[in-house]
């Protein structure tokens, strides 16, 4: 039985204006991502991986085409609605963690919950649970500067998870980590995918990192080289 489609991308193109020049970063791209999949997006620099990730995560609008996540068509949402949609449905993990340096780990993790109607006590419970999932319950009061790279990335993952999003979007999540730590983080992402059923889309340059994914997609010059339909077989 094939997994239901969570992300559906149809005929999506993205053009940027660089000075007087119009650069087409994505060209008529079609892609389906099934619920519960762990996708690794690979390709050389400038191939359009991050642009595609930004579109899937609702950070940007396509120039043409249609993007659906679940039942929502996100390409036509206004900036305000898209922000609300992101808060509800997407968790982001970045290469350089992008934690707030002046906030403790727990305050960083709490950030997405500030946009919900949860009470302070509920938020605290959810934050503690997310930090426990990533194995950092004992580092809750530490500031990012007091954490190692791997720990900081775990906090970032906890922040991405805490609001229980539909989709986790990770942009080079291990790009700044040594091999051993990277394996730990990838193992954690894999566990989140397998044990918690989280759909993950991860951009990576690292073939070893891509091996943790359930499907690898390769991009070049704004197009998918070997995108297959979900469970094509």
């Amino acid at each position: 039985m094939s997994a239901p489609t969570l992300v559906s991308i149809r005929n999506v193109s993205k053009r940027y204006q660089r000075g007087k020049q119009s650069v087409e970063v994505l060209q008529n791209l079609d892609l389906d991502i099934g619920q519960g999949e762990f996708i690794a997006l690979m390709g050389p620099s400038g191939s359009g991986k991050t642009t595609l990730l930004n579109l899937i995560g609702g950070l940007d609008h396509p120039s043409t085409g249609e993007i659906r996540v679940g039942s929502e068509r996100i390409d036509s949402l206004s900036d305000g609605k898209l922000a609300k949609w992101r808060a509800r449905h997407v968790g982001f993990v970045f290469q350089f963690y992008n934690l707030m340096p002046m906030l403790s780990a727990e305050r960083n993790v709490e950030l997405p919950l500030l946009l919900t109607s949860l009470s302070s006590a509920q938020r605290k419970r959810n934050v503690a649970a997310a930090l426990t999932v990533v194995g950092l319950a004992d580092r809750a009061r530490h500031k990012p500067s007091e954490l190692s790279g791997g720990q900081a990335q775990r906090v970032a993952i906890a922040r991405a998870l805490v609001a229980d999003p539909t989709l986790l979007v990770c942009d080079e999540p291990t790009g700044d980590l040594d091999r051993h730590t990277a394996d730990e983080i990838l193992g954690l992402l894999q566990a989140l995918n397998r044990e918690h059923g989280k759909t993950i889309v991860m951009v990576t340059h690292d073939p070893k990192a891509a091996e943790y994914a359930s499907r690898q997609l390769h991009m070049d010059k704004g197009a998918l080289i070997d995108a297959g339909a979900i469970n094509a077989a």
């Binding site: 930004n54 940007d60 922000a83 707030m100 305050r107």
Partner: protein
């Protein structure tokens, strides 16, 4: 309130910079509190002026004396219902910094002219019949611990006695209260006859006359009539309402309102630039962080509010500290301005200024944060 920790943390991201900015604003609001407080105290005195009373001074300058002989002529002017007189005695107690507002006056006329000054009838009688008697406001009594029966010597910086000394002994025979304006209860009154007999010069003169008119509507005409009466004499007069007199008295010091406004405008304009630059720099440094907030789902409006809230919080804390310090220091000015507390209107205006300043300095960086494009900001463009 749930966003407060985020705003607070953002404010203290660069501690040293925030402390310096905070100090600059604190100093500005301390200055505002002190200057505006003094200005406000002076204005309040003017506003409290009685509409029934006129002040007759020398046309040349209010420090020039007028002949005592004018009394009966002023009393004869139609519309005049009472006349009292005073002179500026210019004294201190023991040390030059212990300035005392002291005036020779006619006891009965004084308390008849100022019914708002409450004194015991028996004490007034004693005052009237004691040559060296003096009555003091309760605030002054409290300040120096003086009480009825005490003998107090004041040193006049203007008036020497016939023996060449300037120390004038007085016997405290009464105290008075001014429930409507406690700042008036720091005065020291004594018998004019004692003063006139004792002084080595200026005998037969008074500093100024206070005239009560039977009807405030007649004030303007009575003032004209009094001045006409002494026109072309050696001592021409200038008659003004109590309010006008107090305003012109303050103008002798300088146009306080103008001076205060000028100084504060310069301070606040400089501060706007300094704080505005700091806020811009603070937001510029945090562009990736603000982009992350937007990525997490913070709307443009929410990000704008957070930056503005930071600016408002900074300015309100600094204004609170500055105005608080001003409130603590202000009582030290009581001797000079007669008011011991910073008025609520000054504090309220200060808070309003703080919010206004926060919005002006916070809006440009807040708008920048609001317009931030997430993809560009995350990519460091």
């Amino acid at each position: 309130m749930k966003f407060f920790p985020l705003v607070w943390a953002g404010l203290w991201r660069k501690k040293l910079r925030t402390i310096f900015t905070l100090l600059a604003i604190v100093v500005a609001f301390l200055l505002f509190g002190m200057l505006q407080g003094v200005n406000s105290a002076f204005n309040a005195t003017v506003e409290k002026a009685n509409v029934n009373r006129l002040t007759v001074t020398s046309k040349i300058n209010f420090t020039e004396a007028l002949p005592y002989a004018y009394l009966t002529q002023i009393e004869a002017v139609p519309g005049v219902s009472a006349v009292a007189w005073f002179s500026w005695f210019g004294t201190y107690y023991q040390d030059a910094k212990n300035f005392v507002f002291s005036f020779p006056a006619d006891p009965v006329r004084l308390f008849d002219m100022y019914p708002e000054y409450h004194i015991d009838k028996a004490q007034l009688d004693t005052f009237e019949h004691t040559r060296t008697g003096a009555v003091i406001g309760v605030e002054l009594a409290k300040k120096y611990g003086w009480k009825i029966g005490d003998r107090v010597t004041l040193h006049s910086t203007i008036w020497t006695k016939a023996d060449g000394t300037s120390d004038w002994p007085f016997d405290i025979v009464g105290t008075f209260e001014v429930p409507t304006d406690s700042s008036q209860a720091n005065q020291f009154f004594f018998n004019h006859s004692y003063f006139d007999e004792g002084r080595s010069f200026g005998k037969g003169t008074v500093g100024w006359y206070i005239v009560r008119v039977s009807d405030p509507k007649l004030s303007a005409q009575v003032a004209i009539d009094i001045d006409k009466r002494f026109e072309n004499s050696q001592d021409e007069t200038k008659t003004q309402t109590e309010k006008e007199f107090q305003q012109s008295f303050l103008k002798q010091i300088g146009d306080i309102n103008f001076i205060v406004t000028s100084i504060l405008s310069a301070v606040f304009i400089s501060l706007l630039f300094a704080t505005g630059t700091t806020m811009m720099q603070s937001v510029r440094e945090r562009i990736p962080e603000l982009a992350v907030l937007k990525t997490l789902g913070f709307s443009n409006g929410r990000v704008l509010s957070l930056v503005l809230a930071e600016s408002v919080l900074l300015c309100l804390i600094a204004a609170g500290l500055g105005l608080g310090l001003a409130s603590l220091i202000f009582p030290a000015l009581k001797n000079f301005i007669g008011v011991a507390t910073l008025s609520r209107s000054v504090v309220a205006t200060g808070v309003l200024f703080a919010v206004l300043m926060a919005l002006i300095t916070g809006l440009p960086p807040a708008l920048r944060a609001q317009r931030l494009n997430i993809v560009d900001a995350l990519a460091g463009r």
